[in-house]
């Protein structure tokens, strides 16, 4: 029965009878425990709560968090104040980890496919049956281990070790998938400085930040950490730093920059080299670096008028930015995002990162900081993904029936690769056996034969070597903070359990029985080191408790590599970008971007993140296309018009959002939506921009050039109001009355 508010008041007045009526309502017992009665806030009654340090793994990167647990339920995520990458802060995305744990569409038991592939018909089976079947099917195909592909997200820490070792022991093909490929930036640093790990940009101590396409405040590398850096960068101590964002799209970082400079897509490298030439010519760089780099810069830099024409940036601006950058040291140049997602991505990144070398800020405070690996051998410290090209080859091999089994965990390439690759279709039609270790029925899991639900992050053991890191050795630990909510099993535990079933070579370098054991072994090695943030314990058990309480271990004295001269001997590829789609037929550059809250779409199933407004457009629960006002006039479209976005590869529909900051000739569409299967909150929302992106890659690294597709827009004649926060409340401002104030920062106050 439903109890109305009026009835509640009535029954409450009847004392004992009220209790009887409540019992008759059959509200589950759990709710009485989990929810406080209706009381005024001052009278709240407290139960016992506990805080546990563990990790959250949202789409924006791993964060060390404290979880408030009350009566066995996780209630709140808070940043770990000790951990150097968090400093007590946490992101919106980390908070939503709670909704992953308690999601109503979590897969509760192992499933076996009974219907056709992709029909979504599964039967629930026991874990014993599931593991027997998995072992049997793998044993069938192990005669040809190269026909078995293991696909996971890029993994660091002991799980990375377990997966890598398991794959190596059997000779399986191992792939790490990330939809927004970071290969280009990694390759640039690897080639120039021999660094395997991503560096950290010391924005906090910089006076000047020159960012080429790296949207580090929203979705690039370690946004939580860089947001913290940004707060310090804007702080009072040491003066207020200046941020210049050079990017064809008005990203969140561009919105927060002191100055946003539009540059034609793919010409960032040409621009950076022109700036390097200015610095060189005016002798404003570091003397040693100028001597070393002179030949390279003079050989590669193009004449100023060519640069101006190619980039769309005026000579005055190029010169003033170059002088400012050189004069305001320490400063740092950062490159990534759209600048790297081009067919000449590596060229762009090499040119941008050369600027740092030129002013001599590599390995220095306020510049580029290198990160050392974890101090424990065999723990994976670098999570490099395979470039898109590897997945294209895999799709070809699948189509050629060279792949007999796919083990896939926690990634959704059927949604996250360009539709023209037909990856999902190849999996569905040509792979004899697919096992998915997933909590949710995403597009890839939908075609699996066996679904083995993983543990949620807050239920499992694990660890992480932060990348980018704090500039010194650090290991973060993850412990289960609640009992498993469904019958899941941790992926690592399943692999380690398979060791017995498969026999043979599996035990090589895999001495652990489960992930807890693996993480403990790692902690033991840290204990033996007896240095860093947790030290001087004579007993390992005491150390183990202490290190779990702190959420990890780090040693501020164990810093990364010393500054070194860049190696520019390898060919960085072509300087000119190429695009899919001719400019006459497809007049707009499509500049896609990872959704601020949902990233590539791996968190699209979490309602808090669906309902989090995009910071620039304030749009929610949808896919929109940002169009410049003049372009919108020319196309005769306005907000809420539904348009067809057509590329040589495909068509999607999206609602128009007229954005005054969108550059003419470009349009922007967020990634992450358009799921046909991924739980009730993601399904049927918006469209997937991957369906129009061409599967073209950076010519040198093979990384996905997701910024290199051109499109045309066509009105459909249909309209649907944009779901957005903007306009939710009526502004009640009066002319000449303040809503926000601006200070030029010259010691002046507000007005």
């Amino acid at each position: 029965m439903a109890l109305t508010r009026r009835q509640l008041l009535k029954y409450s007045g009847l004392g004992l009878l009220g209790a009887v009526v409540f019992a008759g309502c059959r509200i589950p017992d759990r709710e009485f425990i989990a929810e406080s009665p209706v009381l005024i806030p001052e009278d709240l009654v407290y139960g016992d709560d506990n805080y546990f340090a563990t990790l959250a793994r949202p789409n924006t990167g791993v964060e060390s968090v404290l979880v408030r647990v009350m009566q066995g339920r996780a209630k709140k995520i808070e940043g770990n104040p000790d951990y150097p990458m968090s400093r007590g802060k946490h992101s919106a995305q980390a908070e939503a980890t709670l909704q992953e744990l308690y999601h109503p569409d979590r897969i509760a038991t192992p499933l076996r496919r009974v219907g056709d592939r992709g029909a979504g018909e599964f039967e629930s089976i026991s874990w014993d049956e599931a593991l027997d079947e998995l072992a049997a099917r793998l044993n069938d195909h192990l005669v040809n281990p190269d026909s078995i592909a293991m696909i996971t997200a890029p993994l660091r820490g002991t799980l990375g070790t377990v997966v890598q070792q398991f794959s190596e022991n059997y000779g399986l093909r191992r792939y790490a998938f990330e939809a927004v490929d970071q290969t280009v930036v990694r390759t640039a640093f690897n080639r120039m400085y021999g660094q395997e790990r991503l560096p950290t940009f010391d924005i906090q101590n910089a006076h000047y930040v020159l960012s080429f396409g790296a949207d580090f405040l929203s979705h690039w590398h370690a946004p939580l950490h860089y947001n913290w850096h940004y707060g310090e960068f804007r702080g009072e101590t040491g003066g207020r730093g200046k941020l210049v964002q050079i990017e064809p799209r008005f990203s969140l970082t561009a919105a927060n920059a002191d100055r946003w400079v539009y540059v034609n897509p793919g010409t960032e490298g040409v621009l950076a080299l022109a700036m390097a030439k200015v610095i060189l010519d005016s002798r404003e760089g570091n003397a040693d670096a100028m001597a070393l780099l002179r030949e390279t810069i003079e050989f590669n830099a193009q004449p100023m008028n060519t640069v101006v024409e190619a980039t769309g940036v005026s000579a005055d601006v190029i010169e003033s930015l170059a002088h400012d950058f050189a004069a305001n040291q320490p400063g740092v140049a950062i490159g990534g995002g759209l600048a790297a997602a081009q067919t000449n991505g590596l060229y762009n990144m090499t040119a941008v990162y050369m600027l740092n070398a030129l002013v001599g800020n590599v390995g220095k405070k306020g510049g580029v900081i290198f990160n050392p690996p974890a101090p424990i051998p065999n723990v994976v410290s670098t999570a490099a993904a395979n470039p898109l090209m590897d997945f294209q080859r895999l799709a070809d091999d699948i189509r050629a029936n060279k792949i007999n089994a796919v083990l896939i965990r926690g990634v959704d390439p059927a949604h996250g690769t360009p539709a023209s690759m037909q990856f999902g279709r190849a999996m569905r039609e040509n792979v004899p056996f697919i096992a998915s270790f997933s909590n949710f029925m995403d597009e890839t899991t939908l075609v699996a034969d066996l679904v083995l639900p993983d543990m949620a992050t807050l239920e499992s053991w694990g660890d992480d070597v932060p990348e980018p890191g704090p500039g010194y050795e650090a290991v973060a630990l993850q412990q289960p903070v609640v009992m498993p909510f469904v019958e899941g099993r941790a992926f690592g535990d399943v692999l380690l359990a398979l060791v017995d079933d498969l026999g043979g070579r599996t035990t090589i370098n895999l001495p652990w029985t489960n992930m807890q054991d693996a993480v403990r072994s790692e902690a033991q090695e840290l204990w033996i080191k007896n240095r860093g943030s947790v030290q001087q314990f004579s007993n390992f058990e005491e150390f183990w408790v202490a290190v779990l309480q702190r959420g990890g271990w780090w040693d501020t004295n164990a810093t990364g590599g010393a500054p070194q001269a860049p190696d520019l001997s390898q060919d960085p590829g072509p300087s000119r970008p190429s695009f899919s789609g001719g400019a006459s037929t497809y007049p707009f550059h499509l500049l896609p971007f990872p959704s601020h809250s949902m990233g590539d779409g791996s968190d699209a199933h979490l309602p808090w993140l669906q309902a989090t407004p995009d910071p620039i457009t304030t749009a929610v629960w949808s896919t929109w296309v940002e169009v410049n006002p003049r372009d919108a006039d020319a196309l005769d479209v306005r907000e809420a018009d539904i348009v067809r976005i057509e590329s040589p590869q495909g068509v999607i529909e999206a609602q128009v959002y007229v954005n005054p900051a969108t550059a003419p000739g470009t349009v922007s569409v967020p990634m992450g939506q358009g799921h046909s299967s991924f739980g009730r909150y993601a399904e049927g929302v918006g469209s997937n921009v991957m369906e129009v992106l061409d599967a073209i890659s950076d010519e040198t690294t093979g990384a996905f050039a997701w910024g290199a597709t051109r499109v045309r827009l066509e009105k459909t004649g249909r309209r649907e109001r944009v779901r957005k926060f903007e306009g939710m409340v009526v502004a009640q401002t009066l002319p000449h009355r303040t809503v926000y104030e601006i200070s030029t920062g010259n010691g002046g106050g507000a007005h």
């Binding site: 759990r30 989990a34 406080s36 209706v38 009381l39 005024i40 806030p41 996780a74 209630k75 709140k76 802060k89 946490h90 992101s91 908070e95 909704q99 744990l101 999601h103 405040l217 929203s218 947001n227 940004y230 707060g231 804007r234 207020r240 969140l252 919105a255 927060n256 100055r259 946003w260 539009y262 909510f485 601020h596 809250s597 808090w608 309902a611 989090t612 910071p615 929610v620 005054p660 969108t662 550059a663 779901r723 926060f725 903007e726 939710m728 409340v729 009640q732 401002t733 009066l734 303040t738 809503v739 926000y740 104030e741 601006i742 200070s743 030029t744 920062g745 010691g747 002046g748 106050g749």
Partner: protein, 240 residues
């Protein structure tokens, strides 16, 4: 113990990046119903703290300005005086308090609130059974037909005050941290006792960039903003 407190907040607009961490932290802490797609179309989405985005200019000279907006906990709150049942009142710690089980849903307060930071529950809040496990046991789930708004996380103020009392010490600056302030990665939000001259928030109130939104209405907001710094601003001064 008998210190007269006046809780307040400082918002440094120069540090706010618009990242939305505060928005989701608040929703998690305060059992705010899931804002489903239709709620936005009906203009009935609930966000106790929100990030307002203002446009200035057009491409290429375009700026987006972010202003975090929450209940301003005014000293002379226009929403309080119109409540016929005293569901909203000012307490002795400077908080604009909403008593849910007094509220009869006239919505007069929302009508009188110039900041649009009061929200009416047009529906009974609905969560799937499993998601209810996350609900904060310290915070009442508001039923249909009543108003709700930012409380400055009164449950955290109470918990901290009580814990300090049990430990026999005074509440110090920085002890009470509302969920939004706790999450803010750039430290743009600062919370504390405005009556404590040594508190960080009292210090920021004296900053040259300090201003209060809709200050001319004379409501004496307890949220103090620090102006955004823009060395390239077209002109220094006010924007509406």
């Amino acid at each position: 113990m008998a210190v007269e407190r006046k809780w307040g907040m400082a918002v440094d607009a120069d540090k706010c990046t618009g990242c939305q961490a505060c928005v989701v932290a608040c929703q998690s802490e305060n059992n705010i119903p899931i804002n489903e797609p239709d709620h936005f179309l009906q203009r009935r989405a609930i966000q106790w703290i929100r990030i307002e985005r203002y446009w200035e200019g057009e491409f290429p000279d375009v700026k987006a300005r972010f202003v975090p907006m929450l209940c301003q906990h005014c000293e002379n709150a226009p929403c309080e005086s119109v409540c016929p049942v005293f569901a909203t009142y000012h307490n002795n710690e400077g908080l604009n308090v909403q008593v849910y089980n007094r509220c009869i849903g006239t919505r007069f307060c929302a009508n009188n609130d110039p900041w649009n930071v009061r929200f009416f529950n047009f529906w009974e809040p609905v969560w799937p059974e499993t998601l209810r496990n996350q609900l904060n046991t310290d915070v009442t789930v508001r039923s249909r037909g009543i108003m709700e708004k930012c409380t400055f996380c009164i449950q955290r103020i109470r918990r901290t005050t009580r814990d300090a009392g049990m430990e026999g010490r005074e509440v110090e600056d920085g002890d009470v941290v509302p969920a939004c302030v706790q999450s803010c990665p750039t430290n743009a939000l600062v919370f504390g006792d405005l009556n404590d001259a040594s508190s960080q928030v009292a210090h920021l109130r004296e900053d040259g960039r300090q201003y209060r939104i809709l200050d001319h209405l004379g409501t004496e907001p307890s949220v103090h903003y620090l102006a955004k710094i823009d060395p390239y601003a077209a002109s220094e001064g006010e924007h509406a």
